[in-house]
């Protein structure tokens, strides 16, 4: 059945959906181009996590000999998930900064006055962040493979890791967008950069939870990012574990819901204050 044979209301609905998808795609592409054109936005997503991955792998690689360290092929293999997490968190933060810059420069006001639903403005930014998350996951998997790390659960495991990283980037991007919409200040969102590092250090992104020292260990145990990281790491260092995967998906869903709620409230606030 083609579009012309649908009832009028459904056809109008489909047409609107198609237009909105085009808006989201256009804004998403703009967001990606913006990131690739500005080294300040690109560096946190690729340069810093890659550098830190190299430094931590080379400097703390002996950790695999510690009693209690999970069996891994190499410390690089263990660290890949942490590097991806760092990259996606900073992609979310960079997306927030770029949205705040748009607000400061009046670009968002022009979008608000355009005949498009307001949610597409946020979705467009998130689509860009998702694409950057996807890029980050591919980048670090490629680095891992080039430097000899194995993906223990093969192609399927790699796909799962990529999907989890992309979904988490989108979820974290939602929180970044909410803060940008609420404050409208790039410097405030940029100020969250250290906080991103704190949240990461207080998770099992860089070391097994059992070997961390208190109080970091206790906090990491309940940090939702630890569940996401274990979900990404599992297919890389051992195999796909349904429980780990389920916990990761639940944690991501939680972050998505939080991001959506905060974004919706912040969007209403932005429309009210202009």
């Amino acid at each position: 059945m083609d579009r012309h044979s649908l009832p009028r209301s459904e056809a109008v609905g489909l047409e609107a959906l198609r237009v909105n998808a085009r808006v989201v795609r256009a804004l998403g592409m703009r967001s990606i181009r913006q990131t690739f054109r500005r080294p300040q936005l690109m560096a946190p997503i690729v340069v810093f996590p890659t550098l830190l991955l190299a430094i931590q792998t080379g400097g703390a690689g002996g950790a695999v000999n510690l009693p209690g360290f999970p069996p891994v092929q190499s410390f690089l293999q263990f660290m890949l998930a942490g590097a991806m997490m760092q990259s996606l968190m900073l992609a979310g933060n960079s997306g927030g900064i770029a949205l705040a810059v748009d607000i400061e420069m009046g670009f968002t006001d022009r979008l608000f006055s355009a005949p498009i639903p307001r949610y597409t403005i946020v979705l467009g930014r998130l689509a860009g962040t998702a694409a950057l998350g996807l890029f980050g996951s591919l980048w670090f998997l490629a680095i891992g493979l080039i430097f000899g790390a194995h993906i223990e659960s093969g192609f399927t495991g790699a796909l799962i890791a990529i999907a989890l990283v992309t979904a988490t980037a989108t979820a974290v991007g939602g929180i970044g967008a909410a803060i940008a919409l609420r404050t409208g200040s790039a410097s405030v969102v940029q100020g969250l950069f250290p906080l991103v590092l704190v949240v990461l250090f207080l998770s099992s992104a860089f070391f097994p939870n059992e070997l961390m020292i208190q109080p970091a260990k206790a906090i990491a145990e309940y940090n939702p990012l630890s569940f996401v990281v274990e979900g990404i790491r599992g297919p890389i260092i051992s195999g796909v574990d349904a429980t780990e995967l389920g916990e990761a998906v639940l944690a991501i869903a939680g972050i998505v819901v939080l991001g959506l709620l905060l974004s919706a409230r912040a969007l209403r606030h932005r429309l009210r204050v202009g």
């Binding site: 500005r38 080294p39 300040q40 690109m42 560096a43 946190p44 340069v47 810093f48 550098l51 830190l52 430094i55 931590q56 792998t57 080379g58 400097g59 703390a60 690689g61 002996g62 950790a63 000999n65 510690l66 009693p67 410390f75 100020g191 950069f193 250290p194 590092l197 704190v198 990461l200 250090f201 207080l202 860089f206 070391f207 070997l211 961390m212 020292i213 109080p215 970091a216 260990k217």
Partner: protein, 263 residues
């Protein structure tokens, strides 16, 4: 007719350096928030690395039982690196806004303009270093002794000068704040691709090779000695030589970039 109040050249140079340092200090006092990232970043790294990699001391070959003592000089030097790189970012901002053009048409020699930026960074680096040091002491890091602390502070101030030369050189070359990631990542690599996380014998072979030729390894060893035991001249002089070497190389390069910068 020569002015009766004309200053000798050296005094005029000193006055210019002091004025540039005062400007940097004013920036800090008027926008206190601007100093927060420079203080927060090394503190977060200190707390994070300590919480995450603290168990590394269980490995055979570690000369200390507490990772706090091992990592605190690294975080202090990292703070110096961040502060120096920030001086480069600020210089790039001044170039973008035309402030440097005004300095360049002044009669002040180029090296004086560079010295103002570099010395201001050295002084400013003592703030994050002190903050990290106090936090480390509260968490149980060993007291390095007055001599150990003095050596560490000298290393921190000189490392900030090295970082400021690096940042200024890049700012003058690219004339844009877009070079900021290069300034920061360069310093991060220089400070951390050393014995920062673990002793030389415990590093991965490729990292060991890098650390062996990285002059900052000597700087870290010198800054760290008081925290791990006593201070000796044998551990101190290689750090001093490394810093002098880095300052000469990067200082000359930054000065060359400044001389090439036309109004």
């Amino acid at each position: 007719m020569e002015s009766a109040v004309a200053l000798p050249q050296w005094r005029a140079n000193l006055a210019t350096i002091a004025a540039l340092m005062a400007r940097a200090k004013n920036e800090l006092l008027r926008v206190p928030g601007a100093a927060i990232p420079g203080v927060l970043a090394p503190t977060i790294f200190f707390l994070g690395l300590n919480g995450v990699f603290g168990a590394l001391t269980q490995l055979k070959g570690f000369s200390t039982g507490t990772y706090e003592s091992y990592i605190v000089p690294v975080s202090m030097l990292q703070g110096a690196g961040f502060t120096g790189a920030a001086a480069g970012v600020n210089l790039a901002r001044d170039i973008e806004q035309g402030w440097v053009d005004r300095l360049l048409v002044s009669p002040a020699p180029r090296w004086v303009l560079l010295a103002g930026t570099v010395l201001a960074a050295s002084a400013r680096a003592l703030i994050p270093a002190t903050f990290v040091f106090v936090i480390a002491l509260l968490l149980g890091a060993g007291w390095p002794g007055i001599d150990g602390l003095l050596v560490t502070y000298v290393m921190v101030a000189a490392m900030a000068a090295v970082a400021a030369c690096w940042g200024s050189g890049l700012a003058l070359r690219f004339k844009s704040q877009s070079a900021a990631p290069l300034m920061q990542s360069g310093m991060m690599a220089l400070v951390l691709m050393t014995t920062a996380y673990a002793p030389l014998a415990l590093l991965q072979p490729w990292m060991r090779s890098v650390a062996e030729v990285n002059p900052v390894t000597h700087v870290i060893d010198a800054a760290r000695q008081g925290f791990l035991g006593g201070v000796s001249w044998a551990e101190t002089w290689p750090g001093i030589v490394a810093l002098i070497g880095l300052l000469v190389v990067l200082g000359v390069w930054a000065l060359r970039e400044m001389r090439r910068t036309a109004v």
